[in-house]
Symmetry: C2
Subunit: 127 residues, 2 copies
DNA sequence: CGGGATCCGGATGGATACTG
DNA sequence: CAGTATCCATCCGGATCCCG
């Protein structure tokens, strides 16, 4: 339409997290995970190579930060940047989509409310 | 931990939209697109095959509905189901992540406010 | 411990041509 | 117009081995 084509903001956000495991790794970091090995827990299909590439990509996009604490043995920790932390509402809505689905039989009512509170607190959603 | 392992609700939501173009197609449908051809506009890298598979997947997951209106020439329309429409807040937060980033130089302030309103109205966000 | 290097088969993506 | 068929490129996942 215009010579100055405006990119859709949704596309711009997606371009930051378009790797298969990006969102789940960010979610993990909100829940306190910091180490390479921790991100692999509960993700049997995530290989070293893919995780490594994903972490690099997230770092390149400014969402996470890598801190090397020690050499031999190497200790590395990953943290969300402020920019990364501002993804909290996206993660929150992704969780609520499932937790607000009353037809979902995987979550009994009480469990659902408990999980909602957990996410609200962990993601620091204030409203 | 438990014998009855609870799947993270974020993972459950992601499993519904884990194809590369799913979210962008849903976004398009919120903005009124209905036809196969329309979804390909502005997505030069989206091939017929991939789009076809993606639409089938979204339909299988109950997010969209396919209506064949005509044969020769074939006319098909795709619509969001109620379930699909409840993704509105996810799309909204994906847009706001970019539009709330004051350092992003691609959007001057007035343009940003205009876009925010457009998304709020189109996605029927009431708060 | 946190990766990188390599190999490999399979899945996914993309481009083009074609059909009802 | 809405796909299907085909072919090729890329990415993913899994295994294993290695290094500082």
């Amino acid at each position: 339409m215009n010579p100055e084509k405006v990119v859709c903001p949704v596309d711009r956000t997606l371009s930051l997290i378009n790797k298969k495991w990006s969102i789940q790794i960010i979610r993990d970091m909100f829940f306190g995970k910091k180490h390479f090995k921790e991100f692999k827990e509960d993700k049997p299909n995530l290989s070293n190579k893919v995780l490594s590439n994903c972490l690099k990509d997230l770092e390149k996009n400014g969402l996470i930060e890598k801190k090397v604490l020690n050499t031999s043995p190497v200790t590395t920790e990953y943290y969300l940047t402020e920019y990364g932390q501002s993804m909290n509402r996206i993660i929150y809505e992704l969780a609520m989509f499932t937790l607000d689905d009353d037809l979902d039989e995987n979550y009994p009512e009480d469990k659902r409310d408990e999980l909602k509170n957990t996410f609200r607190q962990t993601l620091k959603i204030d409203d």
